[in-house]
């Protein structure tokens, strides 16, 4: 199975457990804390795991344009997270307008680097790599 798809499937399962743990409405559910921590840890593991793939410069998970987890090292994760929010918002609107179905991913390609963005529930996963890296191969194997 595709490596990244496998990671995202695992994350979906953790996210689903977290969502289910929140079903107490306006009542306190003790298990929610554990489920939230597991979800947070899964996001951190994903960012870290992706950044360790060969050729990947950095990876991050963002929520509403703010950095939630990072892997690798770039000067400004805040700017990347904000960019992800702007691009994905525009992409969602375009996908809706063009009847493409729910937006799943976008890629920004510059002369030196490219930024791949994935929507994972309410989170955005960003992957930064030099232009000559074949991300499909790097994240698939």
């Amino acid at each position: 199975m595709h490596w990244l798809a496998q990671q995202l499937t695992s994350l979906d399962q953790v996210a689903e457990r977290f969502a289910r743990a929140k079903t107490g409405g306006d009542r306190f559910v003790p298990e929610t804390g554990d489920a939230r921590e597991a979800f947070r840890r899964a996001l951190a593991d994903l960012a870290s795991g992706v950044s360790k793939r060969p050729g990947v410069a950095a990876s991050f998970v963002a929520h509403e344009g703010l950095v939630l987890a990072t892997g690798g090292n770039v000067p400004d994760f805040d700017a990347l997270a904000a960019t992800a929010q702007v691009c994905l918002s525009a992409g969602k609107a375009a996908a809706t307008g063009l009847s493409l179905g729910g937006l799943k991913q976008m890629v920004l390609v510059g002369e030196d680097h490219k930024l791949a963005l994935f929507l994972v529930g309410q989170m955005a996963l960003g992957i930064l790599a030099p232009c000559d890296v074949n991300l499909a191969a790097v994240l698939g194997e």
């Binding site: 399962q13 457990r17 289910r20 743990a21 929140k22 079903t23 107490g24 306006d26 009542r27 306190f28 559910v29 003790p30 298990e31 929610t32 804390g33 554990d34 489920a35 939230r36 921590e37 597991a38 947070r40 998970v61 963002a62 929520h63 509403e64 344009g65 703010l66 950095v67 939630l68 987890a69 990072t70 805040d78 997270a81």
Partner: protein, 152 residues
């Protein structure tokens, strides 16, 4: 009351669903333990140095912190920052204040109003990731409110 939600330990394939515990009534000891655990969730985040619940008069009623903190100063922060934010929001007709963020030279202070005039305060150093702290705070607020609203 019970729900059909799965517990964390039931992640193994084929495990029977175990309902989550939903607390509608809680005694004071349990409540304090639960609140400590929620504040602990916040302080476990990278860069978070303190998390506290402060009453309307600025007195901390629960506090988790990594190092010595001036609890009087905490009360003053809440009164000044939250008071100013609420006035500002009123002036521009933006409704109730849900979250206040003060970004400072050495870290962040986040304030989230709770039920019954209480305020959740989170302090961080520069290493904190704002998205993580904000996400955790937003998830924690309804849980803390539920505990304070639960009958004794």
């Amino acid at each position: 009351m019970k729900t059909g939600a799965w517990n964390k330990d039931d992640s193994r394939a084929g495990a029977a669903p175990r309902p989550a515990t939903v607390v509608g009534k809680v005694d004071k000891g349990d409540r304090d333990a639960y609140i400590d655990s929620l504040l602990g969730g916040l302080t476990s985040l990278r860069g978070v140095t303190a998390a506290a619940i402060v009453d309307g008069d600025g007195f901390p009623i629960r506090l988790r912190h990594d190092f010595e903190i001036d609890s009087d100063a905490l009360g003053v922060v809440v009164q000044i920052v939250l008071g100013s934010a609420r006035q500002a929001a009123e002036k521009v007709q933006q409704g109730d204040t849900d979250l206040v963020l003060s970004e400072n030279q050495k870290g962040l202070v986040l304030l989230a109003p709770l039920t019954k005039g209480l305020v959740l305060v989170v302090m961080t150093d520069k290493s904190a990731m704002l998205g993580a702290v904000r996400f955790e705070l937003k998830e924690t607020v309804p849980q803390v409110n539920a505990l304070f609203e639960a009958k004794d």
